[in-house]
Symmetry: C2
Subunit: 165 residues, 2 copies
């Protein structure tokens, strides 16, 4: 948690080219606000809520809640973010959909399909990412049992984090 050198980027003037490209190809205009929003996701690979993001951004220059909201919607439409909800929490969470680059290509490589799942500490509320996913066999059983064709799944865990145990 120490900030070495110029590591603690307050607000970026530019995003990594890959991401700027992604925005443009998603027909999302690149503005200072949006750079700052996306920059937060790139800095902290954690789930953000509309409000937590708004608070974090306004430690710097002010930025309207509704603009953050619209940025999130735009990013989601463009396939850069996924949205999810947690049992017992009221807010909607967002997290970055990184392209499934270095993974052993076990899915269709459709560009960005590396979603992930989450675990929440029932004591302190910390939310962490998980790299595990639903086994294919289970998906098959779900389709058989329900008659649905499954297109998406969300898996949330609740428990006690290392610190709270």
């Amino acid at each position: 948690m120490k900030d070495r050198e110029a590591k603690k980027i307050p607000d970026r003037e530019a995003l990594p080219p890959a991401w700027e490209e992604k925005l443009r190809s998603g027909k999302v205009k690149v503005t200072p606000n949006r750079r700052r929003v996306l920059g937060r996701f790139l800095d902290a690979d954690a789930p953000w809520t509309l409000k937590s993001l708004h608070r974090a951004l306004n430690e710097g220059e002010a930025c309207e809640l509704s603009s953050v909201y619209r940025a999130l919607s735009a990013f989601r439409t463009a396939g850069l973010l996924e949205e999810f909800r947690l049992p017992g929490k009221r807010e909607t969470y967002y997290s970055l959909l990184r392209p499934s680059a270095g993974r052993r290509g076990q899915g269709k490589s459709s560009g960005h399909d590396h979603h992930h799942h989450h675990i929440v500490c029932q004591d302190c509320g910390t939310v962490s990412h998980l790299d595990v996913c639903v086994p294919t066999a289970l998906l098959g059983r779900v389709e058989d049992a329900s008659g649905f064709r499954v297109t998406e799944h969300h898996l949330e865990f609740k428990g006690l984090c290392g610190a709270c145990r």
Copy 2:
């Protein structure tokens, strides 16, 4: 879906004794309102939202939204209901936690622990129950990867139902 004989109970005067017992042991007073609320869950083994339940109840005698809300909270505290949220939906859903009776006892038999998971049709919005669950092996991997002790999990699927395909 046909209603045979007196199968279509409008509002019950009494709940199955097992459930009345459960309420009492959970320190929940049994009132006409609460019988009607719980009755709906017993009649239709589907997820309800506060509002859908309120609407359903008020086809009969009126019953305040806030009372339904408080009944749901009480039932949840008593361990009769579980609450969950679905991605893309705003409301909180509730479903009955039936005691894990006839199952091959693969969990600790703690009274009621037969939770289940859900699949939502992305077209028509229908929500169905699923009888599949997260494999124990996956839970182990989650604990190892995160350092958390897992106490709960929720698994939601999205897809196309038989009718919408």
